[in-house]
Symmetry: C2
Subunit: 220 residues, 2 copies
């Protein structure tokens, strides 16, 4: 169990194990175990503790007031289930959390976290860094999504990866399409057209920007 708390620090800190030893996070906590199919948290529950999923896999669902469920996503350990939400004004679980496998959850009360933050600057920084990184990630995805049209998303992505007129995707077209939330053939077609129009060159994951102005005009 101590091992899991160490991991929790690791996740927050993203620092070396040695530094974690120095910090010696000794946080009050309780451990709960769930069987496959168990309900871990209900939508609407007030969150008074951080739910650190240390073992297993869960799924989250939205449940309308009429009882129908809508699957949202799966989360695999280790991951905190409500790191940000415990401090939000509306501190309720936005989703239903159900165990897909046997799970272990470490509960850390909000007050314990606050105490630990006041006591241990490293923990404070680590926790803040985790949430801040999440904000950054969400913002980045949102910027991509808010670009209307596949070419606009692609143009935005290229401009972000622009290095002196060249760019690398850093991933396959298939995964990029999934990242954009579009179909692979559609993205492939968009890139073909941009290439055919002479705006960019592209081959094997790498490319060059030929006409910056046209590329920029593809954006919203």
């Amino acid at each position: 169990m101590n091992q899991d708390l160490l991991f929790f620090c690791t996740m927050c800190q993203e620092k070396s194990p040695k530094e974690i030893d120095k910090i010696r996070c000794t946080i009050d906590h309780t451990v709960k175990n769930y069987k496959r199919g168990d309900l871990i948290a209900s939508q609407g529950d007030r969150i008074s503790s951080l739910y650190m999923l240390t073992k297993g896999k869960v799924k989250t669902e939205i449940i309308s007031k009429s009882g129908l469920t809508v699957s949202v996503e799966e989360i695999t350990a280790p991951y905190p289930l409500a790191a940000a939400f415990i401090f939000a004004d509306n501190n309720r679980f936005p989703v239903e959390v159900t165990a897909m496998e046997d799970c272990e959850v470490v509960l850390i009360s909000k007050s314990s976290i606050e105490k630990q933050m006041a006591k241990c600057p490293g923990f404070l920084r680590g926790f803040m860094a985790f949430i801040a990184n999440r904000v950054q990630f969400l913002l980045e995805r949102l910027k991509i999504f808010s670009q209307k049209g596949i070419k606009a998303k692609m143009a935005y992505y290229i401009l972000q990866h622009d290095k002196n007129g060249s760019f690398e995707l850093g991933r396959s077209i298939a995964s990029l399409a999934e990242y954009f939330g579009v179909e692979r053939p559609s993205l492939s077609r968009a890139i073909s057209e941009m290439t055919h129009d002479g705006i960019i060159e592209f081959e094997a994951g790498k490319g060059k920007i030929l006409r910056y102005n046209d590329l920029k005009e593809l954006l919203g």
Copy 2:
């Protein structure tokens, strides 16, 4: 200026002025003034301080390495410019910040914020609440965006606002369309079709869900 710091606490706390007086946030800070057109922060700058915009309006832009700018958004005072980013692993401004009017910015160093957090639980909660609310907001928008198709977005939105079979939009169709990132006539058409198909009733901002199963099947 003290007034602005009080406001800063207000923003973080969202509590009554009386409670703020009790807390007496006396945070180390410096004040900077900018003229219209001045550059407040450059893309890529390391962020060591919180930038609290207390007066004026700024615009943020993405700048590609080739010098072209892409407008992103406008921010009006009072608002913190980089509340989350100072704690992120990649603590750099993701955008270029330029003053659109004469602006006043209160700078609070990261270490000052950490000290204040350790000293004053109310400040810690307020700051965390602000960032947590932002995470919630971004997550919600992202969930809407990741629904493919206008009807799916609408179905998701309705299920979220479902109260015993009835729902209220809480905003105009025009603004909802903007929130979804689609055109108003397109959203209007989608609602018309859902009504025509007998899935929902809708009139004057309010509606009823007639067939939950069909509504659910519109989701991804």
